[in-house]
């Protein structure tokens, strides 16, 4: 199972847990299973069936461009981090 690091401001939705072990082959599956376990978390991470524009996902050490479609290996770490980009147009979003 992947180890999902819960963003600090979402830990209140997860009983204060810093990490949660979740099975899933993609970030989408991971998020869906998180939602089943901790209702409301998907809405905080996603909008219109995509990760929110201000959020990126890192699987292991690498920030993925695939968003919810990113593949997740069984022993991966999954992190939700602020989106940054080339010229940082990403930081224009809100």
């Amino acid at each position: 199972m992947a180890t999902v690091f819960i963003p600090a401001l979402l830990r209140d939705l997860c009983g204060g847990r810093e990490t949660v072990s979740v099975a899933g082959a993609t970030v989408r599956e991971i998020v869906d299973r998180l939602e089943a376990q901790f209702p409301g978390i998907k809405d905080r991470l996603c909008q219109d069936d995509e990760l929110r524009a201000s959020i990126a996902v890192a699987v292991g050490a690498e920030v993925s461009r695939q968003g919810l479609s990113a593949a997740v290996a069984a022993d991966s770490e999954v992190h939700f981090v602020p989106a940054i980009s080339g010229g940082n147009l990403g930081h224009v979003c809100n």
Partner: protein, 755 residues
């Protein structure tokens, strides 16, 4: 085993060098088209005001004036987020930043534009556009703007906390987020030394030499061509498409040579306005900014307030870190607070961390990216506190970094674990460098001298790049790429193609193409072009090699398995006499109807990140507060330096900009929120006359993912200078500077306070 290179690591003359040194290179201002009109932009005279009405009737009566544009000419974008390939943007805000809708949020914001038959008429008529404003109180400081009582810039901006909007009341605080690792309370309880300090940094501009410009030609068939100075032609295309509701297929963006960008030439300002004026007049329209418009109307990097607390045990091991960062977004949400917060402790392995970040709107221009966005502010704070801890514990600052520095396996505060990185290697190289080994030399002047060090981190990124490469019958290769060339990337990309093919760099002819002529390519930013576009060139070379092997096999009537490509020579495995060079084969296949075109598009994983450690010696005049840089050494992990001269140039350029942040540069505002130093005479950037030679030291810890180990080099050298200089000032005169710039006045004030 380290790779052995023929081309990489050499220093060929850049392909665009001759055109640039002889003045033949074409920049945006050089564009001349038949029947072209000249546009000018009217900018807000208020820092914060409601626009009650705009009356352009008098301007339109001036002979030669052909059209006026206001926000009413831009489609309503709605409150949509558009994904523009390399990031997302709120289109309503972007549109209002091009032509203000309803309100102005900073002095210098574009309000209206007109096109006339010559620039003089345009300027004269611009003064006749009457804008009726209802002035509102501005808020210029990040901490003032965070107060409940502060004037609100937007009625519809609420604080977002990780996907949750606090919709009870509008706020200038557009975003708050938090990183938490371990338990900071337990961590600080273990500390033998704890230091907590507050810092302020000024609003500073990228200071690119070439002002923004755009020329647009809107054809009756609905197609539009835009010539401009940009870091990303495809990103301009995407923004114009979204703002004007035109399909991307109807927009061609031609990137001209670019006189600097540093992150500031990604967002559009003039391009959609020129397109609207061209559509209205049926003629091409060119708009140029002057320097004042660049300062007042385009995105600088944010001013900030940062509080940092660090704790170390008695052995000098960092045990806890806490940071509070509030960055000025300017007129619209979107400061680089995310990367700033991710970078603030990124050089260190700290088990217990708590970081809060805030994105705050103020009545200044909407901030834009600037070389390692957000990281320089953050490093000024954290690296100054690190220095103070080193002094309290009496530990050499480089030894401290060796003990605490991030390495492969270190978990950063925002979560991810580092892959192979080179932080420690930069510190080791700095420690051995003659600059650090030599004692600080006393000068002939009586002024006190001091030495400081600081480290810095920046992510570097991957993103998408495309190239095509056509083999010519003289054995050269025409390389078409989509990455605009700011810092010599034509040559660094061409060298990677040449290395892979086993030909000379001079035998590659690189061209930066328009959006109709090359595959999608993300912006020149994030230190990504040599990394990602270079990777694309490498892949295109593999495509060419494969095709050349096929041609050789056909020529020799043998199986493909029987031919090999080795450093620019194709050989038959079963017959040593059968060999042909790349150049010979290129000539032969041309006559036999064969054409070889390689192509590649890549979206590579991000590189492992870049680290730098800088050493500086300064001299401080205690009477005037002037700080002189005596010696400066910048050590940086570059992965693999493709063209060492341009790597050194990036390191030197970044360091000089960081020195400007440290000692001189700031937007000066009066009480009305008006910038009072919007010229290069009054906004003081360092020149070659102010500085010694920057000694750039290249450390190479190859990125294991990249074919040649490239990491990217352009951004991290700006990160350490302010902290390194602040630490050197302390070493010289015993005062801790906690505000940028450390201008003579502030140094004198700090010295007086010490007495």
């Amino acid at each position: 085993m380290a790779q052995v290179f023929q081309v990489i690591g050499t220093r060929p003359i850049r392909h665009d060098g001759l055109d640039k040194v002889t003045g033949r290179a074409q920049y945006g201002a050089d564009i001349q088209l038949s029947g072209m009109l000249h546009g000018r932009v009217l900018r807000s005279s208020h820092a914060h005001a409601r626009i009650k009405s705009i009356d352009a009737s008098a301007a339109l009566k001036v002979p030669g004036v052909e059209a006026v544009a206001t926000a009413a000419d831009l489609p309503e974008s709605g409150d949509r987020i558009a994904h523009l390939g390399e990031g997302a943007v709120n289109l309503r805000h972007l549109s209002s930043n091009c032509l203000a809708r309803g309100k102005v949020h900073y002095k210098g914001q574009a309000v209206a534009a007109l096109a006339a038959t010559n620039p003089h008429i345009a300027e004269e008529a611009l003064a006749l556009i009457k804008v009726d404003y209802e002035p509102l109180p501005p808020v210029m400081d990040v901490r003032e703007a965070m107060k409940d009582s502060a004037p609100k810039l937007h009625a519809d901006v609420f604080t977002e906390e990780m996907g949750q909007l606090k919709k009870d009341k509008p706020s200038n605080v557009a975003k708050h987020f938090q990183f938490k690792l371990g338990d900071v309370h337990k961590g600080f309880a273990q500390a033998a030394v704890t230091v907590e300090r507050e810092f302020h940094t000024a609003t500073v501009h990228q200071g690119y030499i070439e002002p923004h410009n755009a020329t647009a030609m809107f054809n009756p068939d609905g197609n539009v061509t835009i010539w401009c100075s940009t870091q990303g032609a495809f990103t301009v295309r995407a923004q114009v498409s979204e703002l004007l509701q035109i399909p991307v297929s109807r927009i061609k963006v031609v990137p001209l040579e670019i006189g600097g960008g540093f992150g500031g030439k990604i967002r559009v300002y003039l391009e959609p306005v020129a397109a609207v004026l061209s559509k209205k007049t049926g003629k091409p329209v060119k708009i140029l900014m002057d320097r004042a418009a660049v300062f007042e109307g385009t995105g600088p990097t944010p001013g900030s307030y940062i509080r940092v607390k660090l704790g170390a045990d008695k052995t000098g091991k960092l045990v806890a870190g806490e940071a509070y960062l509030a960055y000025e977004a300017g007129a619209f949400p979107g400061s680089p607070i995310g990367p700033g917060a991710m970078c603030i402790f990124a050089c260190y392995d700290i088990p217990n961390v708590l970081i809060d970040g805030f994105d705050v709107c103020v009545n200044k221009p909407a901030t834009a990216a600037y070389r390692a966005p957000g990281a320089t502010n953050a490093a000024f704070a954290s690296e100054t506190v690190v220095d103070e801890i080193c002094r309290q514990l009496k530990i050499d600052p480089l030894e401290f970094r060796l003990k605490n520095g991030a390495k492969e396996g270190t978990r950063r505060a925002d979560g991810p674990i580092y892959p192979r990185i080179g932080m420690i290697e930069t510190v080791e190289a700095a420690k051995k460098h003659p600059h650090y080994v030599a004692p600080l030399a006393p000068g002939s002047s009586p002024f006190p001298r001091g030495r400081g060090v600081a480290s810095g981190f920046w992510f570097n990124i991957g993103l998408k790049s495309s190239v095509t490469a056509s083999v010519n019958n003289d054995g050269t290769v025409s390389l078409v790429e989509g990455s605009t060339d700011i810092g010599g990337t034509r040559v660094s990309v061409a060298m990677q193609l040449a290395e892979a093919l086993g030909i000379r760099a001079e035998d590659v002819r690189p061209v930066v193409a328009d959006t109709d002529s090359v595959g999608y390519t993300d912006v020149t930013g994030g230190s990504r072009v040599t990394y990602a576009t270079g990777w694309a060139a490498y892949e295109a070379a593999q495509d060419i090699k494969w095709q050349m092997l096929e041609k050789a096999a056909q020529l020799w009537k043998t199986d493909l398995d029987n031919v090999v490509y080795d450093k620019g020579v194709i050989r038959a495995k079963d017959d040593p006499a059968k060999k042909i060079t790349f150049k010979e084969l290129a000539e032969k296949i041309q006559h036999k109807g064969g054409i070889v075109v390689g192509r590649a598009t890549v979206d590579p994983p991000w590189p492992g990140g870049a680290f730098a450690t800088h050493i500086v010696d300064v001299e401080v005049d205690p009477d005037t507060g002037k700080v002189s840089i005596l010696r400066y050494t910048a050590v940086q992990d570059c992965g693999k330096a493709i063209h060492p001269s341009y790597v050194e140039g990036q390191i030197q350029g970044g360091a000089v900009q960081g020195i400007g942040w440290a000692l001189n540069e700031e937007y000066a505002y009066n009480a009305k929120g008006e910038m009072t130093n919007a010229s290069f005479l009054d906004y003081r950037m360092p020149t070659s006359l102010d500085l010694p030679m920057i000694d750039a030291v290249i450390v190479e810890v190859p990125d294991p993912k990249h074919p040649y180990g490239v990491r990217g080099v352009g951004e991290v050298p700006i990160v350490p200078p302010p902290a390194a200089i602040a630490n050197a000032i302390y070493a010289a005169v015993g005062v801790r500077m906690n505000e940028l710039p450390m201008s003579p006045g502030r140094v004198v004030k700090a010295l007086a306070a010490k007495k």
